[in-house]
Symmetry: C2
């Protein structure tokens, strides 16, 4: 942000997208031929281009829409397509111009449509340019330019406000698309909800201490209400943002392999399909994947945990204060390797499951990654709470083997000697609390710093290195001419910043969402250990929301807007964590009910049946409460669903008025009264009916019209009442 | 069915409905005035009437539609209304006549619409005649006439077939309405599914005996698959029968008390509302209701159970073989009284909850009645399995108190003496199995007989009594003249049968559904005790399906068709029973794992932790499997949902073709290519742009059209590759 006053930040030169084209190797002809094709493809969909030098073997192609009028046609078509597929309940106005005036085109929609124009396959009317894929490997990135003026205002506004309003979220949706807006909406909802557990967490910490059943129940209840509330909120927001059911028109994956082509039973078009039964079979592979992940990561974490326990609580030799970091180092080295392997395995597995759409692929991948994340995030605390604390004194004596790791440092065998009898060893009862504090405070702060400060330093560092390199090159006389040398002076500062933006990372909202969901997990699973956790989260999330905005503005390329109607599979993760929380919370509350000390390594102190009964009762209370909360929430009208119903009603009404107006000309049944009455007049007809051959006609001809029915009926009634009266008298 | 050859059964005289008007008291003027009003009201909505004598102070009013043409208008309006409210995805044809030809009017729709015409309030275009309510207390019943020819064929067809097809169900829907069709569809699905557990139940019984964990798992799995399958089947059927979302246009309750009138946010009409938050508060009263029911019924059942145990296993005096029936007698006497009280309490509670629609009221009432049914059906077995068997020898010694009940019969104190030590007493391990057999075989058969044979005998008996009475009356000379005396001879047999049908009960499908769901409960909860239960159910249900058809044809008035898109709250009961079954099954399998003998009254033989762990693991396996089954089923395309999607697509498409065709005139973006290319021609414009005051214009004017971009870009690429090559050479 150092160059804020730079004139290059004041205008985007009407550029819609910048394409960074990188040529590798030295084959000039190939590089220029591909470049030529790229520009022709862009021109073929009505995009004007300008080219400038880029850094590191690349040129930058600036793209803008050649004709706004033609773009409007594209926008209108996209909106009609949305409606046909049920994304919007109401059809756009009949007249394209009127439709655009009624619903103005906002930036995110514009950028999304242009991006589709660039990347969609040619048969769908796009240029078919897929960055980093297949033929277009040399297209390194396609990105819109930041609106620095706006960004500056945005950050300033947010940093001086406590709460974000729905209008703030609407603004994000209009500039960055509903997918990113959903992340901010979720985090904002979560943040506002956090005020409650922060209050009763603080009160509980002050009055009740840790492991309070009252706090545990309130926290579980809060988790349920928040999760269920968010589900409704999602529907509301997706209706508000016109992106409901958007997943039905997701972009197809190029790699999707179809087995056969069939006629779509809905639209009648030919579609390529892959049988879902076959996919279900392939999805079963997730089971071994989950087991492998759990055992591999579990083994690593358990080993490091054991080494740590050994060093901190058994080892008594020199360098102890340094050696305790050994397991952390092992983890830091091995964990990324392992998770890397598992992630690529997850990728290949998802590839194998052969999803048709990008959305489907992402969802399936996220589900798999959640398993890995779950283990790395929560297993350490789970081990402490449910293995170390209850069984510590039984297990620690068997930790001799880990003596190997520190043997080189030990001066004698005694320093490595584990206690022979459980009695000699006492567990460290504070370990659980410390660990929870570490994960809920320290790790969160560290994360935040890593997210914001590290990329900043990295950028600064790289810039410095580059400067030094070119200085050295100049000194040695063999300088590659700086790309900016040939820039027209009035464009220099603009091009300088575009080159900087081209080097930035792309923003992936999934990572930020994952962070929030994992944080929610700590609250749901372990906050009973240390009720101040929600307070820490509350503070952290206030900063997080702003930091993420800042990150998008400064550290990342401007994201390409895309649409969403949910936070996706993370929603399932939320539900799962809430549920799992009911089990861990119950278990922790029971295990540490003796003044927070826990069974202290003596499993014989635990009444297994009482533990299981606690879990059983707590979990079922949880399920009943969740059912009640769901029921209650479903009864409340939500503005989004109402809007949807109204729009659906209006379109039917409109169709009705336009096409079914004949209905008003249809006579109501009450008009038939005249026919009923008329019958009495048609004496002749009646006579003939009585002589009719159809006994049905004779039956209906006996009484002519309602008046005769009344006459005869009254006579029947009177006679019957008389008969009863006679009978009554007789029996007296 | 004795009068099958009677000519009165061959025609319904074109009658649509028969109204039985009963006059009480001796006020002739009042009785005839109300009668007059009734006929006028009917005529006012275009219904023709004939009146005839009825039995026991009543007249029968025969009603038929005066004009078929007017009725068609009514039908068309009803279909359009369905579509406006989203019940049908596609609007009917624009032309009413064409619409009726495309979708012919079937009997159930006709009768439903005429019934609405009679009963709907006047402001909605009906005659406002509500039988047995308010002003129309004297209208005893409104019923259509049986089609005896058809019924005969129906029963004959069903009784010679093993399986029912979807077409059979369609036929029911067309004649009796989708609500009753849903009951038959459910029972048929359940029956077909039962083949599986019958097979592995029989195998398990043969090979593995009772309490087999393998059978338990298979049965639970079956319960999950069936419940989840049925949920999908419901959607399919409701789409097939055009009744999806029909609950949105339910008829309003007259007793609904509104708090305020607000404008409907969807339709813009004024609607009366009762705040749902207030209703939620009132619904909380269900909690004390459930507790009261449980404790009152529980106490009665537990007492009778204890008395039975005391008499059969402690008492040793005379008349023992008769006295064992004492608890059954107490139950038979007290249970109906108690359930009657609870049912009326449930009614009043539901009344208080103030539902807007009849459907809402029924749902809420059914939920409450399920609680009562659950306790009366399953508590006896639950007591045996989880109280008597494990704790028997601890409890039986305390049963002295029940000695009081048989003290009058005992000859000495010793006969009433309970064993002093638990060792002296051995429980009867066969009691559980016997009880399950009783509930799954004996009780089912008894029920079936009660349903079919008792009403038959009752009818025959009443007829005989009546004959005898009138014979006596004739002898004593004071005969009330028989109503049939004045019948025209050719109508005599027809009127005779109508008078018979008027005396029949009305059919309530809820009772039959409840029976099936409770049967499913025995299978889910206890069939592991006696794996032959599903075999018994399979046989029973084959008969049940036919018996119910027979019941509707012979024992009951022809039901008034109504629509439904679900079996309603019974679906929730199914899910609940499946879940609860996972808990009881696990507990039973563990408790009786020692060769089926159970803990034999010695609770010290039970490892509580092992019991709880079994339940915990089994229940969670159940939940995971259910989740997987749900996921898998949701992936499979169902014909119903597809049909719905297609119709929704078609209507949008039609609207699109009719109204949005302008879109084809909008030029695609690729047309803008000419604009991009043209730029290169407009040299002058470019020149002037370069001199323009807007730097954005100057930026875009530097390269004229794609060709120049390609030229310049290629030059940039070549230069960069050259530079690298130079650099490379230098460093060699």
């Amino acid at each position: 942000m150092a160059t804020h006053k730079s004139p290059g930040l004041q205008t985007n030169m009407d550029v819609d997208y910048v394409i960074s084209y990188r040529f590798t190797g030295s084959d000039k002809a190939k590089a220029t031929a591909q470049f030529e094709k790229l520009v022709h493809e862009l021109a073929s969909v009505g995009l004007a281009t300008e080219v400038r030098d880029g850094v590191n073997h690349s040129v930058l192609i600036f793209v803008k829409v050649a004709s706004e009028k033609h773009l409007f046609g594209e926008v209108y078509r996209s909106r009609v397509k949305d409606w046909i597929h049920g994304v919007r309940p109401a059809a756009p106005q009949k007249e394209a111009r009127a439709a655009l005036e009624e619903e103005p085109l906002h930036e995110a929609e514009r950028l999304r449509i242009i991006y589709q124009l660039i990347t969609n396959p040619e048969e769908e009317g796009g240029a078919g340019i897929t960055p980093k894929e297949g033929e277009w490997k040399s297209v390194e990135s396609i990105f819109p330019l930041h609106d620095h003026e706006y960004n500056k205002k945005w950050i300033k506004k947010w940093s001086t406000r406590y709460m974000l309003t729905t209008e703030d979220l609407d603004e994000i949706r209009e500039r960055l698309g509903s997918k990113i807006a959903f992340y901010f909406a979720f985090t904002q909802s979560y943040f506002s909800f956090l005020v409650l557990p922060a209050i009763f967490g603080f009160t509980a910490w002050f009055l009740l201490g840790s492991f309070s059943p009252i706090y545990a129940f309130l926290a579980s209840l809060w988790c349920i209400v928040f999760t269920e509330y968010w589900k409704h909120q999602e529907v509301d927001l997706s209706v508000r943002w016109g992106s409901r059911n958007v997943s039905t028109i997701e972009t197809k994956r190029k790699d999707f392999g179809h087995e056969k082509e069939v006629k779509d039973p809905v639209t009648g078009e030919m579609v390529r399909i892959f049988p879902s039964t076959k996919r279900l079979q392939r999805q079963l592979l997730q089971l071994p994947f989950a087991l492998t992940s759990a055992s591999v990561l579990g083994a690593l974490i358990a080993t490091c945990f054991s080494i740590e326990v050994f060093i901190s609580e058994v080892y008594d030799g020199p360098l102890k204060s340094y050696l305790v970091f050994l397991p952390t180092i092992i983890l830091t080295v091995c964990m990324p390797v392992l998770t890397g392997v598992l992630n690529s395995l997850a990728n290949r597995l998802t590839e194998f499951e052969n999803y048709e759409t990008k959305g489907g692929y992402e969802r399936a991948l996220t589900q798999k990654l959640f398993i890995v994340n779950f283990i790395t995030s929560y297993l350490p605390i789970l081990l402490t709470a449910f293995v170390y604390v209850p069984f510590g004194s039984l297990i620690v004596p068997h930790l001799d083997v880990f003596g190997l790791t520190v043997q080189p440092f030990a001066e004698n065998e005694k320093q490595l000697k584990t206690p022979d009898t459980p009695a000699q060893f006492t567990i460290n009862p504070d370990r659980l609390r410390k660990q929870v504090i570490y994960f809920t405070v320290t790790a969160q702060v560290v994360n935040l710093c890593v997210e914001i400060i590290v990329p900043y330093l990295k950028r600064k560092g790289f810039a410095k290195v580059k400067k030094m390199q070119s200085a050295r090159a100049v000194r040695s006389g063999g300088a590659v001419p700086d790309v900016s040398e040939n820039d027209p002076p009035e464009e220099a500062s603009f091009l300088h910043r575009v080159r900087q933006e081209a080097e930035l990372d792309t923003y992936d909202v999934t990572n930020d969402l994952r962070e929030m969901v994992l944080q929610f997990g700590y609250l749901s699973l372990f906050s009973v250990v240390w009720p101040l956790a929600p307070v820490s989260f509350l503070i952290n999330d206030w900063v997080e929301l702003r930091a993420d905005a800042l990150k998008i503005c400064v550290e990342m390329q401007r994201p390409i807007p895309s649409r969403a109607d949910t936070i996706g599979p993370w929603l399932d993760s939320l539900s799962f964590l809430t549920w799992f929380g009911s089990i861990t919370t119950a278990a922790i509350v029971y295990l540490f009910s003796n003044g927070g000390l826990g069974p202290g390594g003596k499993p014989q102190d635990i009444q297994t049946w009482a533990l299981l009964l606690t879990i059983f009762l707590y979990e079922h209370t949880f399920l009943v409460v969740r059912w009640a909360v769901r029921l209650a929430l479903s009864k409340l009208e939500s503005p989004g669903k109402q809007k949807e119903k109204r729009e659906r009603y209006i379109i039917r009404k409109r169709y009705f008025d336009e096409n079914l107006s004949e209905i008003h000309r249809l006579p109501p049944m009450s008009d038939a009264k005249t026919i009923v009455d008329r019958e009495s007049l048609e004496e002749d007809a009646r006579e003939s009916s009585l002589g009719s051959s159809r006994q049905e006609d004779r039956f209906w001809a006996r009484q002519k019209g309602p008046n005769e029915t009344i006459q005869i009926g009254s006579r029947l009634i009177e006679r019957a009442i008389d008969a009863v009266a006679r009978e009554g008298k007789k029996s007296q």
